[in-house]
């Protein structure tokens, strides 16, 4: 555990944002994903709150990794993460009450986000504090990206808007983000309900696989010339 093989920061960032994306590759955190991605704004709020918790939890776990025995690491991580989320919840409620009214719903959901424990276990418990901080940031931003994309697609088809109520979350300066794409749109309720989340996720997973396949396919290899070419 204490042996620190240097990890490439570029690799870490790339993994977080794309190759090992929490939602699109690891298929983790499905519960908060389905629950909050009814709009792009909600996805953004959940993503940013999760990113903040993920960075701090990764740093803490990496800092204590040498002292924690393998046998009791999971309960220790769970206690640390749960405490952290509760602290964030309390402080926001006390000192940033307006923000808490908007984000409060998401913060409670972060506790059940297995991606946080997953990163503690898979990365932070084996790597330096610095690398873990970068990993937390990259994974969090990758998660945010995924939530915003799923949220925007569901919102567009479901209610015909983009980033509705963004100014509530980010402040009045961001009201330009709010776009009513289709006026007088009656909406497709199913997209707002959980089945819509699964549908959109399914199509986005297909899209990601297709992109990955295209990128990794060697240029010289064409199915016509080589029948075995995958």
């Amino acid at each position: 555990m204490s042996c620190n093989t240097p990890v490439s920061m570029r690799r870490v960032v790339r993994d977080g944002l794309w190759d090992q994306n929490v939602v699109f590759s690891q298929l983790l955190a499905m519960c908060p994903m389905m629950a909050v991605t009814t709009s792009g704004t909600n996805g953004l709020g959940m993503g940013l709150a999760t990113t903040a918790v993920l960075v701090v939890s990764n740093i803490l776990i990496a800092a204590i990794r040498d002292y924690v025995s393998d046998q009791v690491r999971i309960p220790v991580f769970v206690v640390v993460i749960a405490t952290l989320v509760t602290l964030v919840d309390m402080s926001l409620n006390a000192w940033a009450h307006e923000l808490h009214k908007v984000l409060g719903l998401f913060i409670a959901l972060i506790v059940v986000n297995c991606a946080i424990l997953g990163r503690a276990e898979a990365f932070a418990s084996k790597n330096t504090v610095r690398a873990s901080a970068v990993d937390g940031l990259a994974m969090g931003l990758g998660f945010t990206l995924a939530l915003v994309v799923v949220g925007l697609v569901r919102e567009l088809i479901g209610s015909g808007t983009l980033f509705a109520q963004a100014s509530l979350l980010l402040g009045p300066a961001f009201s330009f983000l709010e776009i009513k794409v289709i006026p007088n749109y009656s909406g497709v309720l199913m997209m707002i309900l959980p089945p819509g989340g699964f549908l959109v996720l399914g199509f986005l997973l297909v899209a990601k696989r297709l992109i990955d396949q295209r990128v990794s396919k060697p240029a010289a290899c064409t199915p016509a010339a080589e029948p075995n070419c995958a």
């Binding site: 046998q71 220790v76 509760t86 409620n93 000192w95």
Partner: protein, 205 residues
């Protein structure tokens, strides 16, 4: 002793776990102690903001939050009633009531004048279907305003589908039905306890 050896000892592991629980517990206690006053202040502010929404300006000149009385309803559940006064005379009452909606309880805050006419209603808490049932929120639709000016005896308290006078939503009848029921029951509660509410000496200030 080497850390690596120590880590495999069961006593070390037990102590470690206990230590972390103690530390995090202490952190939570400290945080709770530090944030509690601010959180309570914020909750009071929120309550004040919703009280203003269900009672139009000029209905009361006192601080409602400081003039409350707790009265048991027919089911034995205590209800906190905030009393509005104008030059000392009882002029308005604000209280919460809830009814079962499509997904869990819908909590409404009801503001009445002394005669029991609805001044305003707001939904404080609900878990109805987004896009269908959430039209009961004032931010999403004007529907909740349809209660204003209605009194218990002078209105047909049901949604139109049930022969009443309140609109239901396309695709959602259970939700508005529940809100209508909550307001109606609230009015009945007020009618039954009006004298108690007006007379009881609360923590008046």
């Amino acid at each position: 002793m080497e850390l690596a050896v120590l880590r495999d000892r069961i006593s070390y592991q037990g102590a470690l776990l206990a230590g972390f629980t103690l530390l995090t517990g202490a952190a939570l206690m400290t945080a709770n102690h530090l944030t509690l006053p601010a959180i309570e202040r914020a909750a009071t502010e929120d309550m004040k903001a919703s009280l203003v929404q269900v009672l139009p300006q000029g209905m009361a000149d006192n601080e409602l939050l400081k003039d409350s009385v707790v009265i048991k309803n027919d089911k034995g559940v205590p209800v906190t009633v905030y009393r509005g006064r104008k030059a000392g005379a009882f002029s308005a009452a604000v209280f919460q009531h809830s009814a079962r909606g499509y997904a869990g309880d819908i909590v409404v805050l009801i503001g009445l004048n002394a005669e029991g006419v609805v001044q305003g209603v707001r939904v404080l808490k609900h878990a109805e279907t987004p896009g269908l049932g959430d039209k009961i929120e004032v931010a999403k639709a004007d529907w909740i305003h349809s209660f204003e000016g209605k009194a218990l005896a002078a209105a047909r308290w049901a949604v139109k589908k049930d022969g009443g006078e309140f609109d239901q939503f396309a695709g959602a009848t259970i939700t508005p039905r529940a809100v209508v029921k909550a307001v109606k029951e609230g009015l009945e509660f007020y009618a039954a306890h009006r004298t108690e509410i007006a007379a009881a000496q609360g923590e008046q200030s």
